[in-house]
């Protein structure tokens, strides 16, 4: 059973790799990718903590609602663990 997660909806300034169009959206973990250095620290030349990275699959319906070109098409994106809430 795929695990459901929601991308956090916060909008801080600075270097962030969670795209705005996915924030607040719910998807399923497609696979775990291992731990990778946090780009939000790397970007400023800082020692970076490793964060778990996941491929999360979203439906077009979840992301775009009524405006979806084809509701059942999907988008996969890599999201770091500190941007995900488990549901």
């Amino acid at each position: 059973m795929a695990e459901r997660v929601r991308v956090r909806s916060m909008m801080p300034p600075g270097h962030v790799r969670a795209p705005a169009y996915l924030r607040g959206k719910t998807g399923e973990i497609e696979r775990e990718l291992g731990r990778f250095a946090n780009p939000e620290q790397l970007a400023y030349g800082l020692e970076a903590e490793k964060q778990p990275l996941y491929r999360v699959r979203f439906t077009m319906a979840e992301i775009w609602g009524e405006a979806a070109e084809r509701p059942t098409d999907t988008i996969d994106a890599e999201i770091y663990g500190h941007w995900l809430e488990r549901l």
């Binding site: 790799r17 990718l33 999907t74 988008i75 890599e78 999201i79």
Partner: protein, 215 residues
Amino acid sequence: MPHDHPSHSHEGMSPSGHPYREDNDAALTYWQRMEIAVRELLIEKGLVSSEEIARQIDAMDARSPANGAAVVARAWTDPDFKERLLQDASAASREMGFDIGPLHLIAVENTDTTHNLIVCTLCSCYPRNLLGLPPDWYKTRAYRSRAVIEPRAVLREFGLELPDDVQVRVHDSTADMRYIVLPARPAGTEGMSEEQLAALVTRDSMIGTGLPRRP
């Protein structure tokens, strides 16, 4: 399909069919001055050598869609290799002898019911260490913005109309992975050699904006 089929008939075009970038004979720009200055300062400080720069340029020039095409053709002809490719595309590429550096590559498979499309909405991440540098359109606002909200309309602009029963899976390269599409082997290619098959695999078919050529 404007990009995978270069024309050789235009004057002022390079062998690849594209206009030459204004270069050595044009007026020196501020940013070219910066490139020269940065490069020379790095060499003077012993941080980078001119040999390393030359080697890196050669290494990048040696990477091209032909490398990816060879990987795809191997996967079409060797089921065990295909399994390894879908499991770990970096290891499978290295197994074939390609120097892909630290690239973390994931291969996604097109089938009768699934079509995959690769984009990077945040910048222009691309499997450059296997396929070489990305085409210009991959880096444009239009492609980056639209591929995730209307992929089918984008594909139509590439001349690709997908059947209704095919699901589109878009892959946004937001972090440490890069992606390559394993296109479906075209019908009518039974008995073709791996080399003949590789010639059918276009760059766009490995990004998902095209299909392989038909034999």
